[in-house]
Amino acid sequence: MLEFVIGRLLRMCLTVVVIVTAVFFATRFSGNAIDFLAGEGLGAKDRQLLIEYYGLDGSYGDQFYRYLASLMDGNFGLSLIERRPVAAIFAERVWPSLQLLVGAVLVTLIISVPAGIAAAIYRNSWIGSAIMGAAFFGYAIPNFVLAILFLLIFSFWLGWLPSTGNSTWLHFAMPVIALSTFYIAGMTRFTRNAMLDVLSQEYLRTARAKGLPERLVIFKHALRNANITILSVLGLQIAGLAAAGSVVIETVFSWRGIGELLVSSAIRRDYPVLQFGVLAVALAVILINLVVDLAYGLADPRVRLGKTA
């Protein structure tokens, strides 16, 4: 087990190093930040002045070396645009993002797992068809269309829900649902398939032959097994959400989260913010994957992490 965790951590370091390097050079090749920061109407001399001021001078190699050196000192740099520590910028954004993420994951689980189970059990009745039909639709709408539709219906026309900010729980309703619809749809379908697989297993016949009531058969014997498969996908979904999921939703609902920060810093070529962001997100994603893998090991006694790593 310990060996497994250490192994994963090592792999994680490698991944992070590669990502940091790749992002560093990709950003440099994608254009000089000066042209995004202070571009308009700069003569060559002025341009050079600012390049030095922002520390964008020197070859890419030099810059990378400086970047690594300051990383070693635990210094992630100043935002080129805001001129304050990137860590501080991130600290402001983490909580709102986390709220959204956790909200979306919870809503996804709360809705999709029961829906998937129901769809599997009632696969031949209208209930199953209705659930799967809804899932198909949920999977087919671009989420910003959904988000703006929500906004128009519930805020603009009905005036029931606030449209911007995140101060009360009412603020969560629309962003969380708009964000999770796609995932709910995906997870419902996945849960159904996992459940169908399990439902045809022989140990369920054994459980029934023991005289267990259907409730126990489904929720104890079947669900525990389905959970294992569900868990493996859930990890990817959470990771996906954490990595990219919410920039669109954050923009529509003026939700100051990481997703929006990453995209806007990339658009404005705020390298230090971007680099830190990618680093942080990558770490988060890898950690989530690690946690899910550990959970997987706990949920499935056949997987002994330490032995198979």
Binding site: F4, Q201, A207, A209, L216, N225, A299
Partner: protein, 603 residues
């Protein structure tokens, strides 16, 4: 012990069960009637697909879950002296009270019948808590006792283990413990030993019998193995195509089968002790005697294996450290002559397949020599091996899995030709047609795909493929194990016929001693990677010298109720494993020769 005068415990009357398929309803069981009395053992036999399992599931009314429907019939179960319940029309709630309580069931495949994510203890206790209303602690204590009763070692620890941590035999005993938890009045055992080794099977059968004697439970024993029937049953129901063809007392049935199908079934069963095949003069393809091979197989050695050792590493941890090794094949030597069949028997894990695969260099042996036509194959690289494969072919255990589902029969059968010869597409196709004719497959099978064939037909395709390059040696690894007895007999006949025609030498691997006896001229008995006894079939099986051989033979159920053996103690139920620590030096093997060609391991 059986009281046939009183009312039956369970009486099935005119049961008909059908499945809805895309082509309309399909009857799986038709108009089936039988009775079973308290304390009695009733065997239901019949080939695969005859409706045995459907009947069993219908009794517990679990068949609807599988998509079936009870169309007709009564399943009268005597709950106590004066109340009889028709299970076919009972409510789900009533059934839930009966299932696992008064009627319980043991399923065929012990791994898939246990829930992989729940502990053994949990799965046993469930039944106790549900039907006997025990508290969690009481249930746990009771479960421990049950495990003890089925003679599972270290029951306290077992309670906390998961199914995958137990061997097949152990799991099957857990199933039995579970089934016995509430002292059922009727136990249905659906092929409870099919997946197990003979020695383990013998242990399990003993156990069931013993427990039944103690508690007077009635048992419905479902199997397709006539040997097991002979050993276990008081009465037999023979089924075919969902209908009962005959029912009788066991002894009477074996002595005087009335229905033709029963006779057929009994005849198809390979019987141990019926004698080994005799060498037949090899014939050429033209059917004319061939002077070269006339001298008989006893002279020309096609394969000589000397001191073969094959080991597999067991690795653990991040760095894949070598922690132990599986000594799958230890110092094995034998020779194989042209036109001869050498049978390899032994239990699961004894190294049979590994020998076969080592000989073909599908796994790399660690040391030893494999002399084929005088040439040592061991040092050859994969590339240098390839041309030689033309003469060394293999037939695999599972006929379906060993055929690529996406290739047509023509392509499959001629794959060795494609690889080893420069024949044109046309010529290969002609050869394929020829080969299919030889294994007696219809000519139109040539463009079909594996999933369109039955098990026996698929195995014929495999045989045709092995024959296509006219090999000198065919390694047949459990080539008939997956087949029904009647089909099995046909395939064995076919293989023998081909051997007579072409003078092929078989290395015939099986765990079924009766099949080995029927097929092999000589036999090697394997135990934990070592040959413990090797010699002519008659010598080894009629006059076994080694203890292990005896034990093995003793465990084989004999399809004759008159020879029912009485075992005093439950035999080995655990599987042995050949995993040894690194650096383990096996002691050198010494053999004692007994007569010509019969050697026995002494040390």
């Amino acid at each position: 012990m059986t009281d046939r005068t009183s009312t039956p415990l369970l009486s099935v009357e005119n049961l008909s069960v059908s499945f809805d398929t895309v082509n309309g309803p399909r009857a799986a069981v038709q108009d089936l009637s039988f009775d079973i009395f308290a304390g009695e053992t009733l065997a239901i036999v019949g080939e695969s697909g005859s409706g045995k399992s459907v009947t069993a599931l219908s009794i517990l009314k679990l068949i609807e879950r599988e998509g079936g429907r009870i169309d007709n019939g009564r399943i009268a179960f005597r709950r106590d002296e004066d109340s009889v319940l028709d299970l076919a029309v009972s409510s789900e709630a009533q059934l839930q009270r009966i299932r696992g309580n008064s009627i319980s069931m043991i399923f065929q495949e012990p791994m898939s019948a246990l829930n992989p994510v729940l502990t053994i203890g949990d799965q046993i206790c469930e039944t106790l808590v549900r039907h006997r209303r025990l508290s969690a602690n009481e249930a746990l204590r009771e479960a421990r006792d049950l495990l003890d009763r089925v003679r599972l070692s270290d029951p306290d620890r077992r309670l906390l283990q998961y199914p995958h941590e137990l061997s097949g035999g152990m799991r099957q005993r857990v199933m039995i413990a579970m089934a016995l938890a509430c002292s059922p009045r009727l136990l249905i055992a659906d092929e409870p030993t099919t997946a197990l080794d003979v020695t383990i099977q013998a242990g399990i059968l003993d156990l069931i019998r013993e427990l039944q004697q103690k508690s007077g439970t009635a048992v419905i024993f479902i199997t397709h193995d006539m040997g097991v029937v002979a050993e276990m049953a008081d009465r037999v129901v023979v089924m075919r195509h969902g209908e009962m063809v005959e029912t009788a007392e066991t002894v009477a049935l074996f002595r005087q089968p009335r229905a033709p199908y029963t006779r057929e079934l009994l005849n198809a069963v390979p019987k141990l002790g019926s004698g080994a095949p005799v060498y037949a003069a090899a014939k050429s393809m033209t059917g004319m005697p061939d002077s070269d091979t006339h001298a008989g197989p006893a002279e020309e050695t096609v394969l000589e294996v000397k001191n073969l050792v094959t080991r597999f590493p067991v690795r653990k941890g991040l760095l894949r450290r070598l922690v132990a090794r599986v000594h799958a094949v230890e110092d094995v030597s034998f020779i194989l002559r042209a036109g001869e069949t050498l049978g390899l028997v032994g239990e699961s894990g004894s190294g049979k397949s590994t020998i076969g695969r080592s000989v073909l260099k599908l796994v790399e042996p660690e040391s030893g020599h494999i002399l084929f036509g005088g040439k040592d194959l061991v040092p050859l690289t994969r590339r240098h091996m390839r041309p030689i494969r033309r003469d060394l072919q293999m037939i695999f255990q599972d006929p379906y899995a060993s055929l690529n589902p996406r290739m047509s029969v023509a392509e499959l059968v001629t794959e060795p030709l494609f690889i080893h010869t420069a024949l044109s597409h046309r010529e290969r196709r002609d050869r394929a047609a020829e080969l299919l004719a030889r294994v007696r497959l219809p000519a139109d099978s040539i463009d079909r795909y594996p999933h369109q064939f039955s098990g026996g037909q698929r195995q014929r395709i495999c045989i045709a493929r092995a024959l296509s390059s006219k090999p000198k040696i065919i390694v047949a690894d459990e080539a008939v194990s997956a087949l029904d007895v009647s089909v099995q007999a046909e395939v064995i006949d076919l293989m023998q016929e081909l051997q007579r025609q072409d003078g092929i030498a078989y290395l015939f691997i099986s765990h079924d001693i009766a099949v080995i006896e029927k097929m092999s001229h000589r036999v090697a008995v394997l135990d934990q990677g070592r040959i413990v006894e090797i010699g002519t079939t008659d010598a080894v099986l009629q006059h076994p010298r080694h203890d292990y051989t005896r034990q093995l033979l003793d465990a084989v159920p004999i399809a004759d109720p008159r020879c029912r053996r009485v075992r005093t103690s439950v035999q080995q139920i655990e599987r042995k494993n050949p995993i040894r620590p690194i650096g383990h030096k096996p002691s050198p093997l010494a053999y004692q020769s007994i007569g010509t060609d019969h050697r026995v391991l002494t040390a």
